[in-house]
Each structure stands twice: as structure tokens, then as C-alpha cells.
């Protein structure tokens, strides 16, 4: 708001920042753990070239070296530094997953809210197409599509975003339906407001909490799917580092746990990175859901 008004400035009881701090203070340990882990991952992803001791695809010497002062987590089958690749992997895996989730939310969310608001043929049409998509397992569908249009990061993002947007559509439609039947939406229609106003100013603010929660969960699923596709060899292509393909590349080592000290097989590092991020995101999302759904302890 512009404060050029001659009004006595009305004091807001709490500023946005104060609210954020207040909310963070009340966060449980699990949420704090999740937030710190996510923060570390993000820092690793953004500043990868600064943090990583070696290049992403730099071949440094012998393959399958155990961890040492030089190679913190050892080297892989081509003699690349696993620790460096793990850090670059964060950049690729998280970046691609985030982009995919954003696209899927934009497409699925918009269509879902419009379907809930307009009903009729739009709702029926989109819903039935989505039902058809939902009938096919994601992984198989993604494999098929990738086989048709060819491998590549762009194709991967678009295909996963498309598949994921069907699930986002379902949720967005369901929660928007609850909001679209409210009198305030009718009041806006009676006022003569356009669809844009009704969607973004009347409905979206009310359905944001479940959508943000879903965003966190969807992000995990996308990122697991990418890892799975990379493991199968159709996801992110070498030499680009990514956790899924790192597991795949080093999978032969899983039977030789005695190689590195303290006896952790090399594929466990990227797999652990995947698992840790998934758990962290879920902790944060859980807390957020609990917070916004108005659930009280002990009731």
C-alpha cells in the first residue's frame, strides 16, 4: 500500500517478518532438521563449482579408489571423484525436479481451478483425459514416451511435468471446488469480476496451503522418478552427474562392501542423498500441513 494517505496509519499487529519468525520458533525438531537439510542441499546445488574439490566429469586417476584425504568418498568406475559428483548431482537432480514440479503445478493447477470454476464440458473433458492418463503407471508411461520422443533433459522435464500435472489437476480441482461454491466467489461473479480475478484473488489464496504441501510431496516423487529413470539409463545422460545414474554406474560395487572404510558401498552415497532429501522434505511438509490444517495437539 502507498502510505500517501491522509489516514492515521493503521498499525498492523504483526508484520510479515515477525509472523515468519514466530512460526519458525514454534517449529518442532523434525521440521528444523528437514529445513536445515534442505538448506544444505540448496547451498550445495547453488554453489556446486565453489564447493566441489574437482570438476563434474573430471577423470582424475584410477577407478574405484577407496576414500582418502584426496578423494573424500573415493572414485567411481571411471576414476571420477564421487564427492564432487554428489555435489554436482544435487544441482542437476534438484534443479530438474524443481523445474518439472513448477511446470506441472502451473499446468495442472490452472486447469484444475478452471475446471472447478467453470464445470460443464471443460471439467468433463479435462477430467476424463486425466483419468485416462492416471490409468497408466507413471514409470512405464515415462519410459514409453522417452522411447518415442528421444532422451534429453528437455524431453524428460516435459514428459514428467505432463504426467505429474494430472495428479496436481485432481487435487487442485478438488480443493478449488470447495472454494468455488462459496458465497464470496458468487459475490465476485455478481460484481462482474473476470475469471482471472476470481481464480487468482478469490480462490488461489484459499487453496494455497494444500497446494504448497502437495508441491513438497510432488517434488519428492518427481525427483525419485528422475532417479529411477536415470538408474534405468533413460534419464539424465552421462557424463552429467546425477544421483540416480550414480547409483546405476556404481551398482556393481554393492556386492563388495569391504572396499572402502568404514565399509560403506559407493552406491549408498547417492542413494543416501536421495533418501535424506526425501525424508527432509516430508518432515517440513508434514509440519506445514499440520500448521495450516488447524489441527491441534491432543484433539
Amino acid at each position: 500500500m502507498t502510505n500517501t494517505t491522509p489516514l492515521r496509519t493503521v498499525k498492523a499487529r504483526r508484520t510479515f517478518l515477525e509472523n515468519v519468525i514466530r512460526t519458525l520458533k514454534s517449529a518442532p525438531t523434525s521440521a528444523w532438521f528437514g529445513m536445515i537439510v534442505i538448506l544444505i542441499y540448496l547451498i550445495a546445488a547453488v554453489f556446486a563449482p565453489l564447493i566441489a574439490p574437482y570438476g563434474e566429469a573430471e577423470v582424475l586417476g584410477k577407478a574405484y579408489l577407496p576414500s582418502s584425504a584426496e578423494h573424500f568418498l573415493g572414485t567411481d568406475q571411471l576414476g571420477r571423484d564421487i564427492f564432487s559428483r554428489l555435489i554436482y548431482g544435487a544441482r542437476n537432480t534438484i534443479g530438474i525436479a524443481l523445474l518439472t514440479t513448477l511446470i506441472s503445478f502451473f499446468v495442472g493447477g490452472t486447469l484444475g481451478i478452471l475446471a472447478a470454476l467453470k464445470r460443464g464440458w471443460l471439467d468433463q473433458g479435462v477430467s476424463r483425459v486425466v483419468d485416462a492418463f492416471l490409468a497408466i503407471p507413471v514409470l512405464i508411461f515415462a519410459l514409453m514416451m522417452l522411447a518415442v520422443v528421444g532422451k534429453g533433459i528437455g524431453n524428460l522435464i516435459l514428459i514428467l511435468a505432463l504426467l505429474d500435472s494430472t495428479r496436481v489437476f485432481r487435487l487442485a480441482r478438488a480443493v478449488a471446488l470447495n472454494s468455488a461454491v462459496m458465497d464470496y466467489v458468487e459475490a465476485a461473479r455478481l460484481r462482474g469480476e473476470g475469471t482471472g480475478w476470481i481464480v487468482f484473488r478469490e480462490i488461489v489464496p484459499n487453496i494455497l496451503p494444500p497446494l504448497i504441501t502437495e508441491f513438497g510431496l510432488r517434488f519428492c516423487f518427481v525427483f525419485l522418478t528422475i532417479a529411477a529413470l536415470s538408474f534405468l539409463g533413460v534419464g539424465i545422460q552421462p557424463p552429467t552427474a546425477d544421483w540416480g545414474s550414480m547409483v546405476a554406474e556404481n551398482k556393481s560395487l554393492i556386492n563388495f562392501p569391504v572396499r572402502t572404510f568404514p565399509y560403506i558401498p559407493a552406491p549408498f552415497y547417492p542413494a543416501g542423498a536421495i533418501a535424506l532429501l526425501t525424508v527432509a522434505v516430508n518432515f517440513v511438509v508434514d509440519w506445514f500441513l499440520h500448521k495450516t490444517s488447524g489441527l491441534r495437539d491432543g484433539s
Partner: protein, 543 residues
């Protein structure tokens, strides 16, 4: 049914002393009941009245030793027939509930399981507890259905909850409560959700059955006229304190506390009618229906004079809200025309221009759903100012403050969210939003029915003041005759989609009445403990 009547009228059944209950909100415990004493004798009906938040439901539930989740007992004692309910274990209480203490909730449709037949649910407690065999329980239930005057008592138990009306369901719930012949029943606003004409039947049925079985009852309601028909004694609660307690007749004749007196103030509100021939909105032979079902509006003709208040009264399903939807363009009529200022209105909302939309505004029953919970007052009221009048920034805010002052709130409310205001304040914001458009007609759809009596009166006064200042026309949709009496100039009575009667208030509210108007008017509870008895007798005599 041979049920042993070992009960003696006059024994004390329930004693509550110095009861304090706290409720948790935002991590702090706040008092809900602040030390209330209550005694209930066998066969006695005690009325608990008060506004929402007075603690009447909490106190009623405490009578059965129950505290809602998030509430706790902090002091006092509750003794039911010698059993200390606060000390009793959950098992002991559970054994009492259903069999010796029963509860009838406000919304029967929400309390019945939609997947089971009525009979299965009515006899459940009696058979589960092993009090009766299934056959005897069913025979007893049919007997209760008869006593409660449910239609076709032999077969109604085979129906599902959605296959009977709201009034019938409420009576079925009373039968369920009665199935074990409890010593005490707690009625929690059992008729609030019902139409007046249905309410009469349900009240009569409940009163009769409670008398027949000499059951003690706590009757919770916010409607003094209703409780006057049911209760021997009345307790008035406010903010968790007892305000006044007296026998019903004494309480009605000479209430001692100001608060008690103010409870029926809205009924004292009167506005003289004033006729006018300047028609602003002319609804002519309008017929409308939802998709292909039966006509909801059937050849409806209503003329609405400028600067006056036209009340549309009728039960639910009479088509009064649908008429509003037809006028606003949400439901285009299948035939007939609606003229506004002499010019025909486009049937569809999308075909109307912005200025026409501005001139007809609407206020809803529930401000909770009518105000976007994520918008602040500044945006709720500011949007129509900006949208229709093109004011921006500081000009817009100045207008919002003017409007806030018009609805008797001050500018400190400008940054509040709806959740930070009371029900009455929220309804005021709804009024301001309508007013912001400088409308000629405001359609008020049951705007006071979700509010407490005192707040109702304030809102009605505000509406009348605004009408005086701006000469706005109100189309006032309501089922509450007291409100109609208070503020209208003209009345339209609707029944099953048709207009039964339209005319000046003095004409419609005075004899001779068409049959339906008479039924409707006579069903409105009066502040007279003998009203129900007299009414039932006169109806019987006529039949």
C-alpha cells in the same frame, strides 16, 4: 410397553455446583463456564438460553459429565442421581449415556448415519446394551413413532435418513433418545434448523413425550419464545455466567436483569410502513427451474417500490432464494421478464453491463462464507469501490473509511481479516461491501438468521438507518416473521414457488388471511407459555 414408572416427580436428579470449564485456544486456557450452579428435578424441563458463546451447550453437555475435546473441568461438581460424574470412570459414564442420559443434537441430518436405516439406529442403544430384545425394541420404537406422530409409524423405520424430512428426522432422533427411557434428555437447539411450521409439530411432539414418560430435560436454545413453550424453569446465561434464573411464567412476565429484557428487544423493533408507487424492480410472470426438474418459481409476479423494504417470507423450498438468483441473473428464468427502472434486465448475468450490476447488490446469510477469509477489510470493501467507481490508492482508502463509519465501525478495522471479527461485525462488513457500489437495490438473503438476537437488532437498525440516508431499496428474504414485522413496508408470502399474497405490511399481517399465510403466522412462537397449547387446541378444533 410396560415400562416401570418408579420415578417420583420432585426428586433432585442432577446437581451441578460451582462448575468451571475452560477451553483451549491458541495454547491458552480460557474460561467458558465461570462457576454455575444448576439443579434439575425428575420430570422437570429446564431451559438454558443465551447467545452463541454464552456457554449453554457446554453446560448442557457437562450435565452428562462430558467435556468437548479441548475443554476441561477445573472446579465444581456434577452429581447425577447420586453418581459423581466428574469422578466416574469413562466406562461408568458410557454405561449412563444413551440409557439413562440421552442427547438430542441440533442437526439430526448430521447425527444420523446416512448408510443405515432409521430403525437400526433408533434401537441400537437398547439392543447393544442388552436392555431389550431386538423384537421388543422395534415394537417399542414403532410405539414411540406413533406417540411422536410420525407418518406411517410402522414402516418409517425402514427408510434411510435422506428419505425423510428434517422435522421427521428430528423426531426420529427424539425416539432414539427415548428408546431406553432415560431419566434425562439434553436437547441442544433441536428445532433451530427447522422451518416455523415444522417447528410447531416437533415442539409439540417432544413436549408430549417428555411429559408422558416424566423425563427430566435440559432444553438449550437461543429462542426465548421456544423455550417458553417447553420449560418449567429458565436459566439465562451470558459469558459463562448465570444472569437470571426463574420459573418460566415469572421470567416472561417480569425479567429482572437488563440483559434478559434485551433478549426480546428485536421483537419490539417497529417501523411504520409507507406505501409508494415508484416501482424500481418489476418481476413479471417469472418461471424458473434448475436444469429439468420441477419449477422452483412458478409464475411469480412481484413489484418492488423504490426506497422501501419488501420482505419475502416463506419456508425453505418456497423459492424465495431462487427469486433472488433470478433477479441477480445467476439463474436465468425460463419465461417472464424482470424490469429494472422500467427497462428489461438481461436474463443472464454475463449479458448485464457493469453499471447495471452495480445497481443491484446482494448481502448473504452467512458472512463467514460471503467474505473471503484471506482478504482484509481494506480489500473486501475497497474492491467494489475500485471496480465500480474507479477510485484508487488514497481515494479508495478514504472511501473505505467513510463506509466503515457508515456501518458504525472505525478505521482500525481496515486491516482486519474476517476471522478477527465477531459475527455481527462481519455482517456489517458485508453490508459495507454492498453499500460501496452505491446500489439502488440490495437483496438481503436471510442476513440476520445466523446472528444472536441482540446483534440482529443492531443489524436491522443499521439497515434502516442506511435506507433513510441513501433511499436504497431492500428486498429482504427471511423466514423470520418477527424481523418482517420489524422492518418491512410490504410483504410477499411465497409457498412452493408461488406468490400466495403481496401487500402492505398492515394488510398481510392482519385478517382475513389466505390459508397458508395464517398457518405461517400462527406457527411463529409467541412469548406466551400457553401459546403452543392454545394453538394446538385451536388447530384440533378446526380439523
Amino acid at each position: 410397553m410396560a415400562v416401570e414408572n418408579k420415578r417420583v416427580k420432585g426428586d433432585v436428579l442432577l446437581t451441578i455446583t460451582g462448575l468451571k470449564i475452560e477451553g483451549k485456544s491458541e495454547d491458552t486456557w480460557n474460561p467458558i463456564i465461570k462457576g454455575v450452579d444448576l439443579t434439575l428435578k425428575r420430570g422437570e424441563v429446564l431451559g438454558l438460553i443465551g447467545e452463541s458463546g454464552a456457554g449453554k451447550s457446554t453446560l448442557g453437555l457437562a450435565g452428562m459429565g462430558f467435556a468437548r475435546p479441548g475443554c476441561r473441568f477445573t472446579a465444581g461438581s456434577i452429581v447425577f442421581d447420586g453418581i459423581d460424574l466428574l469422578a466416574a470412570s469413562d466406562e461408568e459414564k458410557r454405561a449412563l449415556w444413551g440409557s439413562r442420559i440421552a442427547y438430542v443434537a441440533q442437526s439430526a441430518s448430521a447425527s444420523f448415519n446416512p448408510a443405515h436405516r432409521l430403525m437400526d439406529q433408533v434401537v441400537e442403544t437398547a439392543t447393544e446394551r442388552g436392555i431389550m430384545q431386538r423384537e421388543t425394541a422395534e415394537a417399542d420404537a414403532i410405539d414411540l413413532f406413533k406417540r411422536l406422530q410420525l407418518p406411517s409409524p410402522d414402516t418409517i423405520g425402514l427408510r434411510f435418513p435422506h428419505q425423510v424430512s428434517g422435522g421427521q428426522l428430528q423426531r426420529a432422533m427424539t425416539a432414539m433418545a427415548m428408546s431406553c427411557r432415560p431419566d434425562m434428555i439434553i436437547f441442544d437447539e433441536p428445532t433451530t434448523a427447522l422451518d416455523v411450521t415444522t417447528q410447531v409439530e416437533v415442539l409439540a411432539a417432544m413436549r408430549r413425550i417428555v411429559e408422558e414418560f416424566n423425563t427430566a430435560a435440559i432444553y438449550i436454545t437461543h429462542d426465548l419464545a421456544v423455550v417458553a413453550q417447553m420449560a418449567h424453569r429458565i436459566m439465562v446465561l451470558r459469558y459463562g455466567n448465570l444472569v437470571e434464573e426463574a420459573d418460566t411464567r415469572k421470567m416472561l412476565k417480569s425479567p429482572t436483569q437488563d440483559y434478559t429484557k434485551s433478549l426480546w428487544a428485536v421483537r419490539a423493533l417497529q417501523k411504520p410502513e409507507s406505501p409508494s408507487d415508484d416501482i424500481v424492480l418489476d418481476v413479471s410472470h417469472v418461471t424458473a427451474s434448475y436444469s429439468n426438474s420441477a419449477k422452483v418459481l412458478d409464475d411469480v409476479t412481484v413489484k418492488i417500490p423504490r426506497g422501501r423494504t419488501v420482505a419475502i417470507v416463506g419456508e425453505s423450498g418456497s423459492g424465495k432464494s431462487t427469486l433472488a438468483r433470478a433477479i441477480t441473473g445467476l439463474l436465468p428464468p425460463s419465461s417472464g421478464t424482470i424490469s429494472f427502472n422500467g427497462k428489461p434486465l438481461s436474463a443472464k448475468l454475463a449479458d448485464r453491463d457493469k453499471d447495471t450490476l452495480r445497481r443491484i447488490q446482494m448481502i448473504y446469510q452467512s458472512a463467514d462464507t460471503a467474505l473471503n477469509p484471506r482478504q482484509r477489510v481494506r480489500d473486501i470493501i475497497g474492491r467494489p469501490v475500485e471496480f465500480y467507481l474507479g477510485l484508487k490508492g488514497a481515494d479508495r482508502d478514504r472511501r473505505v473509511v467513510e463506509l466503515l463509519e457508515a456501518i458504525e465501525l472505525n478505521e482500525s478495522y481496515i486491516d482486519r481479516l474476517p476471522s478477527e471479527m465477531s459475527g455481527g461485525q462481519k455482517q456489517r462488513i458485508s453490508i459495507a461491501r454492498a453499500l460501496a457500489a452505491n446500489p439502488e437495490v440490495i437483496i438481503c438473503d436471510e442476513v440476520t438468521s445466523a446472528l444472536d438476537q441482540i446483534v440482529q437488532e443492531e443489524i436491522l437498525k443499521l439497515l434502516m438507518k442506511l435506507q433513510k440516508d441513501t433511499n436504497v431499496t431492500y428486498l429482504f428474504i427471511t423466514h423470520d416473521i418477527a424481523t418482517v414485522r420489524a422492518i418491512s413496508d410490504e410483504i410477499v408470502v411465497m409457498h412452493k414457488g408461488k406468490v400466495v399474497q403481496q401487500g402492505l405490511k398492515s394488510k398481510v399481517l392482519n385478517p382475513p388471511f389466505p390459508a397458508y399465510t395464517e398457518l405461517l403466522l400462527s406457527s411463529v412462537p409467541q412469548m406466551d407459555p400457553d401459546w403452543l397449547t392454545t394453538l394446538l387446541e385451536s388447530r384440533k378444533a378446526k380439523a
